[in-house]
Symmetry: C2
Subunit: 366 residues, 2 copies
């Protein structure tokens, strides 16, 4: 079953299409009525692993639909999400004579998606990009909403631009080859949507027998998870394209999550695991402040545990370092740390009134 979710924006609206075997339909999708203004030239950008699995199918589908397709393979990993790697996309764009009407196709996780999106934002002052996310995190988060960028040696995503894709094409089948830890990291973001936006999604996740590996998740549930998560993200993005208000709720679990990720050098704890820990912490803070009931918080913790994600801080973390890191976050406004806090499952508020003492108290328990 094909789910098609509109992302409605003042300019540059687009669709997210979710269905098994969409990879083989990309040529059709890129010539249909909503996107048909794309020029003939396509540059597919991927990494070696993902390209080996799925590159040829994408190229065949595009070629059959009449596109002239070339490709550019980048080294895998967050540490290559840099201005230097970006140059490789630019070089390929030049070599293949891309024009303003041409399209980059990002085939990969969030790293490929963010870099390819940024290259598209900046080549010839903006060409088309189509996102074909292959990790769960990229499907439900990174590929949607137009945030693109690369890292500065001293900070993540500091160099970037808003550049909406022309289409987001999701084929749930590709998740079968995604490493299990990456799958769980994506589920952390799905739980986030349950808490901030969609109580029914939360309930569905609670009712699932297992969520720690994709092979235990039915095709129907997976389709539902993807559809509901993308709907939540699309909705928030539609209301706040350039991140001036509502979009902030997407940071649920990310405030403390980022601090833990960065203090552990991005190795011990990956992004999804950091978000899991951060959601537990935000939930406990909300309970402590009388904003949320303990029972809901316990349900959140139980769900995170079921997925096999961490609910406690890694051994030996320095609590003061966490609090200090929060203060230096780029999202701090006028020196006040802003927290997204649950009021009920499915609804959150943003607060800059969280006392450092409360944060410390909660972290001590974890």
């Amino acid at each position: 079953m094909q789910a098609v979710i509109p992302v409605s924006l003042p300019q540059n609206s687009y669709e997210i299409a979710i269905a098994s075997h969409n990879l083989d339909q990309i040529g059709t999708w890129m010539t249909n009525e909503t996107t048909k203004k794309l020029g003939k030239k396509v540059l597919a950008v991927s990494n070696p692993t993902i390209f080996k699995h799925y590159g040829q199918r994408v190229i065949d589908s595009l070629t059959n639909a009449g596109f002239a397709v070339s490709h550019c393979i980048l080294p895998a990993g967050e540490r290559y999400k840099t201005p230097a790697t970006l140059q490789k996309i630019y070089d390929a764009a030049l070599e293949h004579h891309l024009e303003r009407s041409s399209t980059l196709v990002a085939l990969g996780g969030g790293v490929i998606g963010d870099m390819t999106g940024f290259a598209a934002a900046t080549w010839l002052r903006g060409i088309n990009v189509v996102q074909v996310p292959t990790s769960l995190l990229a499907m439900v988060d990174a590929a949607i909403g137009g945030k693109t960028g690369v890292n500065h040696p001293r900070g993540k995503n500091l160099i970037g631009a808003f550049h909406q894709p022309r289409l987001v094409l999701i084929d749930p089948q590709v998740l079968k080859t995604l490493p299990a830890r990456e799958f769980r990291a994506g589920i952390a973001e799905v739980i986030k949507y349950g808490i901030i936006w969609d109580r029914e999604l939360f309930d569905q996740l609670e009712n699932a027998p297992r969520l720690d590996q994709i092979r235990y998740v039915s095709e129907d549930l997976l389709q539902d998870i993807l559809t509901r998560s993308c709907q939540a993200k699309a909705h928030v993005v539609s209301k706040d394209e350039k991140e001036s208000g509502l979009r902030e709720i997407l940071n649920y679990g990310h405030t403390i999550g980022h601090a833990v990720e960065s203090l552990t050098g991005y190795r011990v704890v990956n992004h999804g695991e950091g978000v899991a820990i951060g959601m537990v912490a935000a939930g406990l803070i909300a309970v402590k402040m009388g904003l949320w009931d303990r029972e809901s918080s316990d349900r959140q913790i139980a769900l995170i545990e079921k997925v096999g994600l961490p609910t406690r801080l890694p051994e030996g973390m320095d609590l003061d370092a966490i609090v200090a890191t929060l203060q230096s976050d780029k999202k701090v406004k006028e020196g006040k740390v802003r927290f997204v806090l649950p009021r009920q499952i499915g609804s959150v508020i943003v607060s800059d009134q969280v006392e450092a003492e409360v944060i410390r108290h909660v972290l001590q328990q974890m």
Copy 2:
């Protein structure tokens, strides 16, 4: 006398302010009602020569107005308009903890303006930029309209973004230190506005006794030249922010101009000189095609000569190479070279119907 020209856009409208001693007023301008939402942190970007002349005045004015100002000095010259130099702006932005509300001030010619604008477009996915153009070309062209970018080793301005400034602040007095050849290059663009948009501006230029050096140009005429040129550019940009239609007329003289510039390795012929040659060529093509009268074309040639700009191709240029270069221009649509051609002084059309034979015939005469 202060001229204030609005650049009206669906979002991000701004003003161009033109008056002697505006440099000392930048602090006031950046805190007035149209721009007052700027944060306290400012990073001024310039090159050694320009900063030595004008840096301190800008910093003093900003500091007096309450801004926390730091600066970043980049090496001078088009050959440093690269991704590598951009990193220096990013490093300074990081070092000085710029936030989303912070502002880059570009104090310099088009090179500084384009790089600083692009850094602003891409740092934290977009911060504010104020353009303080110091070359005539930057005042009447580069600083207005939001085109920003850097060069790829194999092509000019290939990496870039649209990012409108919050304010363009022009102080005509700074032109006194601009090298004469750079001044003349700027006058080429002013003549362009006369032909494509503003017949009266053309008449004023014709009536001026001398235009080859700024010291022969009265303050009043200079103010008029700047105001009318900025009005023309502002008008065209307002109607076509993202370069999908009308903005194309700004390429008058640039089609053949770019080819001559690039074939002479950007050394023999500078940009303004290329444009001068290109305007003569476009004029002769228009005459040859029966679109323009010879008398007007002769007036254009006489004006260009008066400025001390070239009206003929440099010695020994390969005409076939020029025609071949035209074909490979990034603005070619579906293989057809597009020319901006005068119909009268003050009015042009765009044509993709110019035969290669006509181009060759005209170039042979030059």
